[in-house]
């Protein structure tokens, strides 16, 4: 992955299993969000390939739109369409891609809003919501179509601890109840330990992934790169040279 002449990451090789919650973690600026953009086809890798269900994922292909419909994406800032109310934001994908009637769409919108704790806020416009509420509304939009694969970019950033906890629980429920596969970009340790089945640690220095595994096991595993343990222990790893 590269922007112009600047290489962001290279030699990445990892798998996300169906129904798994995969966390992409690492320090700020290491390329987590860039990797996510490549996974959803907003950026194209200079070299390498991405496969979904053994089918090559080609962002330039005409079938791309159909593949993307299986995705639900929560952007870092919520990315709500500012000219539409919250309920219109959530209803739009339902109107575009389903044959549901207006009443049923309204019910689904209400339900999705209730899942993210925003019941009764549907008539408001994004500019009338706080940053955390915008993010939750963005999440409601992301899950509007019951997507098979959910991508979350820093979902907990800007949320209060209770909302963050609730969001973690919702991610777990979406996986357990709807069987969704979830890819989360985050560096919130509490969230990583609460939800991740596996975590890929990206390192800005070596520009590649240092390890891929269950974070609850990685945290104490002496075989794991010290940088990863240092990260997962919030810098409290004994005997670790911070400057690496």
């Amino acid at each position: 992955m590269a922007y112009g002449d600047y290489t962001v990451m290279n030699a990445l090789d990892f798998t996300v299993k169906r129904g798994e919650i995969k966390v992409l973690m690492g320090g700020s600026g290491c390329g987590k969000s860039t990797l996510l953009k490549h996974l959803i086809g907003l950026e194209q890798a200079r070299r390498g390939q991405i496969f979904y269900d053994d089918a090559l994922f080609d962002p330039t292909a005409e079938t791309m739109e159909r593949v993307r419909r299986r995705f639900g994406i929560l952007f870092q800032s919520g990315a709500l369409w500012s000219s539409m109310s919250v309920e219109e934001n959530i209803a739009l994908p339902l109107e575009e891609y389903t044959d549901l009637g207006a009443k049923e769409i309204r019910e689904i919108v209400d339900f999705k809003l209730s899942l993210v704790g925003l019941s009764g806020f549907g008539h408001r416009y994004p500019s009338e919501l706080s940053g955390g509420m915008r993010k939750r509304a963005g999440l409601a939009r992301a899950i509007a179509l019951d997507p098979e694969v959910l991508f979350f970019d820093e979902p907990s950033a800007g949320l209060d601890p209770l909302s963050s906890l609730r969001l973690d629980e919702l991610i777990l429920q979406l996986r357990d109840a709807l069987g969704a596969t979830v890819v989360v970009v985050t560096h919130e340790l509490a969230s990583i330990f609460a939800i991740a089945d596996s975590a890929l640690f990206l390192d800005a220095e070596t520009k590649t992934a240092l390890c891929d595994g269950n974070p609850r096991q990685l945290v104490d595993d002496p075989a794991v790169d010290p940088k990863v343990r240092h990260f997962l222990n919030r810098g409290a790893e004994p005997g670790m040279d911070v400057n690496g």
Binding site: D99, I108, G117, S127, D146, L178
Partner: protein, 380 residues
């Protein structure tokens, strides 16, 4: 639970056993499938009095998604409306958990819209809004004058690098489009003029027509309209985006005046560049006129320029340049004012840019009318 393979038709049976009403759900409850009418349950509740509890049997339930969740929620709401408990225990664990999450935060009841105000209130509101708008505009102009004083006394907080960049973007980079459109304007005026003047054998006066029209009036107006669309809108969008991203607030918090840092350099840059663009527009449009005059009439290049020299006085030329400087002030003020008063989202930035162009062009036309009358009275 995700759907795979061929879907089974969703179905619902309603069983009454003593005081318990059991909803037996079967098949795949998916949004893409047809599902049983909810009215069945409503009818059953009315037809079967004495129901003490509503329960679910999902032993034959297949795949499900949000379709089942909203159905369960409807059932729960209906049961609540009839004062009957709805027991979710029989539902899959995933459904129960999702229902629990959806009910965890109480609904925020929307505030009822106030009754529409009567016509007098509406007129009053509009008058007050207009008054506040004028008030804000006066405050804005006052702040700009203070910023100008700070500039003249060498105390203004503006960065020379930004100012030079603005000079380049409002000046040099606008030259190609101003030249192109002015050339075409000169060409059109000359073409219409030659066709009419040839009827009287007065082809040579096309030089007077193009020269006087462009230097006195159209050069400044053309440059103004182009710059309103190009630069006025850009000012509004730039400053508006800064408002949305709280960059303007950040400037204020550091004690840096947005008026001095953002507005002043834009106004000064445009006031300095507009006369130059106007000169470009004048010269290029006269050239455009020449191309037509020489090619479709008997006028030679030398005759054309001699005629222009005789027809266009310095008062015409400098009058146009003076107007263009005033148009520069109008365009910059409209762009910066709309940008600073922009809302907090992307739509507001678009509105600010549109509003800046409309405001600038409107006020330019008003100013041009005032100039026309004033120049006539002063004999310019």
């Amino acid at each position: 639970m995700m759907a795979n393979g061929e879907d089974k038709r969703a179905g619902m049976d309603i069983l009454r056993e003593a005081a318990e009403l059991t909803l037996v759900l079967c098949g795949d409850w998916l949004l893409r499938n047809d599902r049983p009418e909810f009215q069945q349950l409503e009818a059953a509740l009315i037809a079967e009095p004495g129901v003490a509890v509503i329960a679910f049997d999902v032993s034959n339930l297949g795949e499900w998604d949000t379709a089942l969740l909203i159905f369960v929620r409807r059932c729960r709401d209906l049961a609540q409306a009839h004062g009957v408990p709805c027991v979710l225990d029989g539902l899959p664990e995933g459904v129960r958990n999702m229902m629990r999450l959806s009910l965890a935060v109480p609904r925020q009841e929307p505030v009822a819209d106030a009754a529409a105000p009567d016509v007098f209130t509406q007129v009053g509101d509009q008058v007050l809004r207009t008054y506040r708008g004028l008030d804000n505009y006066c405050i804005f102009l006052g702040q700009l004058l203070l910023a100008l004083r700070a500039l003249l006394t060498g105390r203004a907080q503006l960065r020379m690098k930004d100012f030079l960049f603005l000079l380049q973007s409002t000046g040099a980079r606008a030259v190609p489009i101003v030249c192109l459109l002015s050339f075409l304007t000169g060409l059109i005026i000359a073409f219409i003029g030659v066709i009419q003047l040839q009827k009287f054998g007065a082809d040579i006066y096309v030089a007077d027509l193009v020269g006087v029209a462009m230097t006195r009036e159209l050069g400044a107006v053309m440059a103004g309209v182009i710059m309103a669309g190009r630069t006025g809108a850009a000012f509004a969008a730039q400053i508006g985006s800064m408002q949305v991203n709280e960059e303007v607030d950040a400037l204020s918090c550091f004690g840096i005046s947005p008026m001095q840092f953002l507005v002043l350099p834009r106004v000064v840059a445009l006031v300095l560049m507009m006369p130059l663009l106007c000169v470009c527009a004048d010269l290029v449009s006269i050239l455009g006129g020449m191309v037509v005059a020489v090619s479709i009439s008997d006028v030679s290049v030398v005759q054309y320029f001699n005629q222009v020299e005789n027809a266009v006085g310095l008062n015409d030329f400098f009058g146009g340049i003076f107007k263009s400087a005033v148009f520069g002030v109008i365009i910059a003020l409209a762009g910066c004012y709309r940008g600073l008063n922009c809302g907090k989202d992307a739509t507001a930035v678009g509105l600010a840019a549109t509003s800046a162009v409309v405001t600038a062009i409107t006020w330019m036309v008003v100013a041009d009318a005032v100039f026309a009358v004033s120049f006539h009275i002063l004999g310019i």
